[in-house]
Each structure stands twice: as structure tokens, then as C-alpha cells.
Amino acid sequence: MVSKAVNWIRTVYQQVERDWDPAAFKEKMRLLWYKLKPFGKKVLLYFLLIDGAFVFLLPILYMLIISTFTAEDLLDPSVRWVPAHLHWQNYRDAFNMMKYQSSLSLTLLLTIVAICGQTIFCSLAGYALARLNFPGKKWIFGAVLLVWVIPGQAMMLPNYVFFSKLQLHESFWPMILPELLGNGLYGALFVIVFRQVFLGIPKELEDAAAIDGTGILGTFTKIVAPLASTAYVTVGLFSFVWHWNEFVRPSYYLTEDNQSLTYALSYLFRYNPYTGKFNANEAVQGAGMILVMAPVILIYVFVQRYFVQGVQMTGIKG
């Protein structure tokens, strides 16, 4: 039995030795390599893509899962990914603790004002900087760049003192007035973006309109703005998102009975050094997060297509 096997191995070995052609073998392996290489690259790419998506989405998924845990589930080490039973009470608790209705309406007010003010006045300013000539244009563009470069945090306190002199420091007006004039959160960045977009629109179109006797405002509203509509959507979306998620200004100006969503959410996370406890358990915190994020994600699903195009068209170039 053993000798048979040894014999067989020997014959196979002899055959291989007789037919062995290093060049042909090399060629074969090379072909195989070329066949496998794109495939392997694809597998690697998909692996990385899925990996990245997992890392990005894990926190959101985990919040969804944890928001249905009961207080016992939170403490039970065997319950990690699958809750024993869905405990929707957490959402009701978070809803009540955050005073969701009033804080949602305040946040909606802030974001809508910001979207309108910033898209309108930043685009007007961007158009003036891109196309119109006037004395002092360089200086004003320099001012825009300067505002963009100064860290936003540095402006908080000077603004707070300014508004407290006007007796407005305990209301939402400090978060509305700058936005109404196209300033405020990232206003300078939006001016720069609009300027870039308008620079990319062919000048001949505007000249044609001017020759036809359209006024400057008419040219802007009828020709330039519609051409830049994706830029408007993009800037509007960013303005919406950044104001929706803003935390620092609300933490200065708002109080517990007059709060925005993010400020309300932070209440759940606040640690009380005297009792050594958080204001809400982790399940309720997770539910609160979902309640804050849900409207944004819903809107993102709808404008997502626009957004991807718009960002590519906006084409900020240095």
C-alpha cells in the first residue's frame, strides 16, 4: 500500500520533471495574475467601501437600537445588539423632557430665517463681487475673507455683550438678526461660494440680457439665479443643516423654557456633579438623538440627488 503510493508519487514527479518548462509556467502565472488582479482590486475596494459605511453608520444604527432598550436591558451585559422587547416609552420620555414641540418650532423658525436671509443676501453680495465693478470692491472682498478666517468662537462673546447692551441677550433675536442680513453662521463662506459659482456662468448671457434692456436686478433674478439653482439648493441645505445643529449660540442665548432642539438634547446629556447622575439614561438619550436627527435625514433623502450634483457644480476653486 505504502510502496504503491510512493511509486505513484515518483511517477508523477518524473512526469512533472520531464514536462517542466519554467518559461511556460511563468507565462501561465502571469496570465492568471492579470485575470485575478482587477477582480482582487474590486473585492478590496468593496471591502473598504462597506467597511467605511459600517464605521460611518454604526453610531446611528446603535442609537436606533439602544433607543428601544428598557432600563434593565441597559444594565444586562447579555443584551447588546438585540433588545428583549421594544420599549417605545423612551421616545415619549425624550419627547417630554426635551419639550419637543416648542423646541422644534423654535429651531424651525431659526433655520427658516437663516435659509432665506443667507441665500438671498449672500447671493446678492456674491454677484456684486463676481460681476459688478465698484470702488472698494477689493477691500470688501478682503473683509469677506477676513470674516471667514476669524474663528467663529472669537465672535461669540463680543456679540453677546453687544446684544446684552440692547437687552436682547435672553431671546432668540441674536440668532435671527445677523442671519436676516446674510451674516451669521458661515455667511462669509456662502458669499465666497456664490461668487465662485457666478464667476463660472458665461458673461455673454448677461450681456445679451443687458442689450435687450433688462435691468441689473432683472438680469440677476431672471437669468443668473435660475442658472445657479443647484448652488442655491446646496447653500440652502448647508445653511439648514448648520443652523439646525448649532449649539454654541443657543447655549449662550437660550434658557430652559425657551430652547432649541440641540440645546434641549444637551439637557439629557448633562451630568449633575451634585447627584453624580445624568439627567436621562442612555436609552432616552439615544431616543432624543434620533428625534433631533430624524427631520434632517428625512430631508436629506429627498434632496440627496440635488446635493451630490450641486456640490460638484459649486466647484469651489482656490
Binding site: 446603535y62 465693478n133 462673546l157 463680543p158 438678526l177 436627527m293
Partner: protein, 294 residues
Amino acid sequence: MRGLEKRRTVAAYWFIGPWFLGFLIFTVYPLLYSLYASLCAWSYEKLEWNWFANYAKIFSDGDFWRCGVTTFIYALVSTPVTLSFALLLALLINQKIKGVKFFRALYFLPVVAASDVISTAAGRILFSRIMVINIDVNRLGLNFAASTEYSGYVAYVISSMIPVLLTLALWRTGIQMLIFLMGLNNVPYEYYEAAEMDGATGWQKFWWVTMPSISPLVLLNVLLTLVESFTGLTTSVRMISGGYVHLFIWDYVQFLFAERADFSAAAAVIWVFIIVVLALIGFIYKALDRKVTY
């Protein structure tokens, strides 16, 4: 034609006017007022001129240097990390393979959904539950304890900052990733073809074709990220600690204003920091601008 020119100039002032008015009221006036206040002794009613006493006071305060250095270290470390991560992600979702659009939509989601508030919250819950991270802050050798009254609490805040930092580093790459992606889309395909004809490898193509083509956007991104990162983790610190702990310079400013009731000293800190940040950004711009190919 002269009339038209004049009309265009007048129109230009109307166009830029509202923004500029807002700029004067909400940026220039508060800043100049705070500059004036920083040279005076503070009270709400009347300011008394006392030259550079406030500056002398903050420069001799250890907390000022500690918070300032922390802020700078954070900015200078987080900027390259964020940018390289963003570039890798942008390269990844710029690949032309099936289903990449779906992944693109997923990768953009944190740009809109994950703010500082959300990532602080998510980071806290996620890391404390799934990856149980227990970091003994005292062993890190960082002497952060700001006020002895809360020193255990300070350690708690800092140890919860670290997971938050990781989550933020991931989620904050969104805008930078978008900007890189825009640049990658605009690189002419012929350049790659020419490089391939000359037998360039993937690595060489990246360094000699991709990088020079997107270099203006790299510069833009560096400046953008740097400005952003000087804000530090102020939102997170404030959210977790409720304002008891000062870690970054803005927390220190807030502390001077809220607890010492001294706006002048706070304004002095703000002005020192604005000048230093502007100088640093100007320096980095000058240094990088020479390497950018337009």
C-alpha cells in the same frame, strides 16, 4: 455708456449693501468695542482706560497658557489627520465601480446628520458601551486639573473627550471629503492616459497627476480645516461638562466672562488669539501657496 456704468455701480452698492451693513453691525462694531474694552477696566456702565493691564494679567495666568497650548496642539494635530482621512475617503468613493453612487449617498449622510452635538452624544454612548474604554487620565501625564473643587470631575470630562475625539475625527471629514471629491472629478482624464502611456504606476499617477491637479483644493482645505479646528471641541466640552471645565481657550474666555465677570480680560484673550491665528494662517498660506499649481 457712462450712464450704464454708473447705474451698475449704484446697483452694486445695493447688492452688497445688506451684507456689508450686517458685517459692520455684527462683526466690526463688536470686535472694535471688545478691542477698546480690552484696554480698559471692565464694568457694564463705564469703561476706565488702563492701558495694557489686562494683557499683563492674562499673560501671567497659567490657565491662559495651558488652554492656549491645548487649543494649538489640537488644531495642529487634528488638521492633518482629518485631511488625510478625507482624502482617502474621497479617493475611495471616486472609484468607478458598480454601486458607488449608493455608497456616496451613505458617506454624505454624516455631513448633514452628524453635528458636533450628535457626534458628542453618539461618541459618548457608543464608546462607553461597546468598546469599554477606561482611560486613566492621571497616567497620561497631562496636568489638566483646572480647579481643585472639580478635579475628579475634570478627569471624567477629559476621559470622555477621547472617544468623542475619535468619533468627531471620523464624522468631521465630511466637508473636506466633498471638496476633495470635487477636485478629483475635475482632473482631466487625458492626464491619466498620458501618464499611463509613459508607464506610470498607480502611486506615481497619484503623486504626479492627482496631487498637482487638486493642489488648490488642498490649500483651501488646509485653511478651512485649520480655522474650524481652532474652535476645538468646545461644543463637546460644554455639552458634557455644562461649562464647569475649561480645556480650550474658548472655555477659558467663557470662564473669565461668566465667573470672574471680567469682559476686558476675556476680550484681551480673544484679541491675542485672533492675532495669533491670523498670523499662523497667513504663514501657512504663504508657505503652501508656493507649492500650489494653478
